[in-house]
């Protein structure tokens, strides 16, 4: 069997079919001092061919969430409840061996600081060959593998000669592209890209994002973007989720969430960058710091910093409820948020 990118382009994509369903995922880290609640009641769905974004401050749990999907968490992490269904199958119930077989083949991941994803003592091409050997044992001979790897390199814009080079011979941006090439190697249904453009200069950033977008639409792949850079996410995603202190506080179509954020935190986050075009708006600062997840605040985790907080907010956790087509918010007072908008725009 020969894999080719052309085959993949013919992949039938049904945008209404869910690919990955995260259902009420709860996970914490066990440390000496107690338990750190890293992900709490996380629920969202990635459909086939969809690009989903997850934004939030550092430490809000987005990377932990990503790692939980692939069960790559460190030893002191514990899953408490929830399901992660890939094409209907709950990944959390699988044996380690079964999960291993699905890694990279069904879901691939591009890590933060992907430049360091490469083992310095082996050639880049050989490290890509590794995944082919692991997941397509006996189905490809060496020449076919080489041809495939060269095609992958071409797809991400890397010269063919670099396949047999060592990682230290690549520049940072090239290494990033190579990681994407490796992620595509088994043509997975979903790629998780955690901060794919941090530590790269703006021009390279732009190129990488374009590449990813192109690959995604051409090959009908789903992508989960994780970033703290809202500008980046807004450009390339179809749906957007905002996380805070381990919880998903707002979720919906990107355009909608961006234009009309209804969760106070999401609002302040998305309005924290000035825009050159658009109405002149006063910048809304966000006071305080993210909470300590060892002892998270009662009720809504954002209430200590929220300008709209009421009595209820400190007692009861708001559920992630739908307010309009596909747009969900977890806030008791979401209707008050548009006032802020009016106030700030002069």
């Amino acid at each position: 069997m020969t894999l080719s990118l052309e085959d993949l382009q013919a992949r039938r994509v049904d945008r209404n079919q869910p690919l990955l369903e995260v259902d009420d995922l709860v996970m914490h880290y066990r440390i000496k001092a107690g338990e750190v609640s890293a992900v709490d009641n996380l629920s969202f769905t990635i459909h086939q061919g969809e690009a989903v974004g997850l934004v939030g401050e550092s430490g809000c749990g987005k990377t932990s969430a990503a790692l939980s999907l692939l069960r790559l968490l460190p030893a002191n992490a514990e899953y408490l409840s929830g399901q992660v269904r890939l094409n209907g199958e709950d990944l959390l119930q699988l044996s380690e061996e079964a999960m291993r077989k699905r890694r990279w083949k069904e879901i691939a991941m591009v890590f933060q600081g992907a430049m360091n994803s490469w083992n310095p003592v082996y050639r880049v091409g050989d490290q890509i060959r590794e995944v082919l050997d692991t997941h397509f044992r006996g189905q490809m001979d060496i020449e076919e593998q080489t041809a495939h790897i060269e095609r992958l390199f071409a797809a991400v814009g890397l010269p063919r000669e670099m396949v047999d080079r060592f990682p230290h011979e690549f520049s940072g941006g090239m290494r990033q592209r190579a990681v994407i090439a490796m992620a595509l190697a088994c043509s997975p249904g979903l790629i998780i890209a955690d901060e794919p453009t941090t530590a790269l200069d703006v021009i390279v950033q732009d190129q990488i994002l374009r590449e990813l977008k192109r690959i995604q639409t051409e090959m009908g792949m789903s992508i989960l973007y994780i970033s703290h850079d809202i500008a980046v996410i807004a450009e390339v995603t179809d749906s957007l989720g905002v996380m805070y202190a381990g919880k998903l506080v707002e979720y919906g179509p990107t355009a909608e969430v961006f234009a009309r954020p209804r969760h106070p935190y999401a609002y302040l986050l998305l309005r924290s960058t000035p825009s050159i075009t658009g109405p002149r708006r006063q910048l809304a600062p966000l006071a305080g710091e993210p909470p300590d997840l060892l002892n998270p605040p009662s009720g809504c985790r954002f209430h200590p910093r929220c300008p709209f907080a009421t009595e209820q907010c400190s007692v009861e956790e708001p559920p992630l409820a739908e307010i309009s087509g596909g747009h969900r918010v977890a806030c008791w007072n979401y209707e008050d948020v548009p006032e802020l908008e009016a106030e700030l725009v002069r």
Binding site: R102, R103, W104, W118, V121, F166
Partner: protein, 385 residues
Amino acid sequence: MFRFLGRRLLQMGFLFIIFLTIVWFLLQLMPGDITDTLIGDPSIPLSTRLELGERLGLNQPLYLQYWTYITNFFKGEMGVSFSRYPQDVSTILWEAIPRTLVLVLTATLLAYWMGFKSGKLIAWGRGGKTEQGFIVGGIFLQTVFYPWFAIVMLWTFGFFFGWFPIGRFIDVGLWQGSGLDATSVFVQLVFSSFIAVMVYAGARWFIKRTAGRLITQQRLERVAAAIVLIGLVAYWYFNPARTYVADIVWHTVLPVLTLGLVTFGAVMLITRTSMLETLGEDYILTARAKGLPKQAIRDRHAARNALLPVVTSFILAMGTVIGGAIITEQIFSWPGMGLLFLQGIIVSDIPLVTGALAITGVLTLFAHLVVDVVYTFLDPRIRIS
């Protein structure tokens, strides 16, 4: 590559000359010379002693003696031994070198091999009582008072259990009248073992090229090891000198084991530390995400990178190993260079001691070179392009 080697050899030569110079001048400060050994015998007149001194050039000014020594050294002549007059130093040392080399190399290679394996496995495991035990054991082996440890080993396994001979190189009574020379038999033994190791290494290289999966590779490697081992044993079994060879091997086990154990402890600890650091690297997480089998992650990715600092550590460890070899030879009466060195010091046999130190210097520098080359092969980041 060759330019690199050439440059390094030149560097080494330079360093060696400095080393030899320092050693030579230092040893000249040792009291006594050959005429002292003759003082005890009153029948030898003073004139004879003076004449001997003159003949050996001991009356000449120091810098001239130094120059003579250096020039002679590179011709392979290291002077005449004071305590074993008139044997010359090169002959004496030539016989002793292989014995010390076998002791040190076998012990070190075994220690590094087993030490790396254990350290790797311990670091990979999730901790717990076994890891703690190994760590304490390793530290114990590294800090135990070596002479005492060697004595205890000798007494326990040689005297108490009687499994091994109590020191020495051969059982002299056994060899008398056999017409065989212990050194030549020994050299034969070493040579055949070396061939066996080369064959095995070649087999492993071949297997790596051809076989596919990691597990098949390992199985084939084990088969190859078994074949080579059986072949070696069979070769000597059918050899008429086999009892004598067995005698030598029997005497070698305990000293090698003792020296090896102590080195093993240190290597295991260093490997564990290195593995732990490597396991925190990003590419290990990537390897896990790629869905690679656990063994591949542990061996191909983690251990392979953890190996680098361990190899470097060997350079520093060499000094300790040399010291350990001296003590081992002393306690086990193993007739190698270390024993000659000690004996030479006690009787102020300056040429012998100088020669022993010089040879040690040569071997040390050579080992440095080997380690450097090996490291270059292991780490593509510093490869000379």
